[in-house]
Subunit: 331 residues, 2 copies
């Protein structure tokens, strides 16, 4: 049995708890959230399942108490800068960590100093910290790295993730700017609220896997503009208005584009898919028609990675270094 | 620099050497083969490349000499029973091992006693032993396990590998029984020379990844019969005659088929592909159109796994436990 404390009980944290409750080998023994409306509530009731007898606390110390806790699942923030103290506190308390923090998935190039401090805190206590999720953490970095294992040579890697947001939750449609005016879109882009976080981290993870030294990583973001009136989303979008977001992450070696990550999520996309293209020996592509549902997948891989971190070496690790999470779906 | 000794310099071993020579971080410092026609030859000349100043020797001891060798790549036999002594001798000599031996990919259920002895020999010397290859080792076991990482639940897994043998080497076409009479096919099947080795191992590896306890594993083999005259292979195959082989590996839990591995290789197959289907939450499939070339892929993943075993914990490990091999294609 692996005893887990859940840090962050927002929408994603709640999904993680709901999924983890199904696993026979995992027990959720504590929960932490800063929101005073959540503190003091029963975790099960908060996650709209049965009462669990686990009360949401304000601090890790209170949540752990005198229990023997193995792993903390952290679903709080996307920025590693914002999350550093939280992570090192948990490491210092002697818990392994699985986190959905996007920037934690591969911070060795983007935030090397923070990465080093987290690594050291983990090493000191003999615990493991892993950042994961569907993307970054799987589709645009881990999976292409795995697929390259059967290649004698890789010349270039391209990963495309196209999602039809029509069928996703309204907050997701809003998050990608669907239904905004172009001006609103620009404004939100400046605020950084539209950005899908993690493309540079994924580029760096692939480069690490392939042993490539990048001289430059680029990231771009643009609106997808509706080519006709769209009625399939949560609100009508007129022709020419933003229906979603299109992002590229690119990695260059000697000025040559070697890694291209293309992320496009928009209301009314006709075809959704996740595709990895490897140009090399051999050249091949792997396609998941319809794509992977991000909400399900992120909570799934986060929970699935819990046994992996308990088996991994100490330190800040990435998906490239831990045992395959896989779905340990007890039957 | 990782110093490697190549054990077995048959067709596959030669391919491995040729590929490894391209890697800047690997140096082949020795080679072993039992064939007296190969012993004494320069490894490079034997592999039809430049002379390497590495002479093929008859024993590991001679090949290693007083050199500091890190890893042995073993491309000799398919049967773990036949290879056990070879492997334990190498482990006792203190070398990490990567092997293409099919049964070594996941021997914990099929040959638990041999697996345990190899594991103990490795643990004792602090070295790692890994069985890998394209299949078993990647397409029908490791890849589906990796893909299941984004699932909250897996109800069933089906993997299909269909290959058009028309474009493969003649020995491969012969190996799958293309062009035999049905009687010859039956005879060769009895001899065990037609069998693609590894399906039960792949079934067990998936079960391990998913934490399933199987009550039964089945393996079947049948000829593919030409539905029309076929001219695309190395010889003409009349309608109704064997054009290749069709195998199934199946894993059952509580009498229910949960894992289905379908391997079909025949001359004249119209569509070649590798497909992983996961029925669960979410249900999805991942397809590599055209499939992965087995000859290239096996030598590639074998070499790519060399750095992985040097980083892995001691013991007999499987692809589920080592760091992602990936193609470390220095640029």
């Amino acid at each position: 049995m692996i005893n887990v404390v859940q840090i962050g009980v927002g929408p994603l944290g709640q999904k993680i708890v709901n999924y983890a409750l199904d696993r026979k080998s995992i027990e959720i023994v504590g929960a932490v959230d800063l929101d005073p409306r959540k503190v003091g509530q029963d975790l099960g009731e908060l996650c709209t399942t049965v009462p669990l007898g686990v009360t949401v606390k304000e601090t890790l110390e209170e949540a752990v108490g005198d229990r023997d806790v193995d792993v903390a699942v952290v679903a709080t923030l996307s920025s590693i800068e914002d999350i550093e103290e939280q992570i090192t506190d948990i490491a210092t308390a002697g818990l392994d960590i699985v986190s959905t923090c996007e920037e934690l998935s591969y911070p060795w190039e983007t935030q090397p100093e923070i990465a080093k401090r987290i690594d050291e805190a983990c090493e000191k206590q003999g615990v493991t910290c892993l950042g994961t999720g569907v993307n970054p953490g799987f589709l645009m970095d881990y999976l292409p790295s795995v697929l390259s294992s059967v290649c004698q040579e890789v010349e270039r890697i391209k990963v495309t993730r196209v999602q039809d947001a029509s069928i996703r939750r309204i907050p997701f449609q809003q998050k990608i700017g669907a239904g905004l005016t172009e001006k609103q879109f620009e404004q939100q882009e400046k605020n950084g609220t539209l950005r899908h976080v993690g493309l540079p981290e994924s580029v760096h993870m692939i480069a690490k896997a392939l042993n490539w030294t990048l001289d430059r990583v680029e990231e771009t973001l643009d609106p997808v503009l509706a080519t006709a009136d769209i009625l399939s989303g949560y609100k009508e979008i007129g022709q020419g208005h933003p229906s979603g977001v299109e992002q590229y992450g690119r990695g260059f070696v000697d000025g040559k584009e070697k890694i291209t990550l293309h992320f496009r999520a928009a209301v009314g996309e006709e075809e959704a898919y996740d595709k990895v293209e490897i140009i090399g020996t051999p050249t091949f592509s792997s396609t998941i028609e319809g794509g992977i549902n991000g909400d399900i997948a992120t909570s799934a891989i986060t929970v699935n990675a819990i046994p992996s971190v308990t088996k991994a070496r100490a330190g800040l690790k990435t998906m490239l270094e831990v045992p395959v999470p896989s779905c340990f779906s007890e039957v």
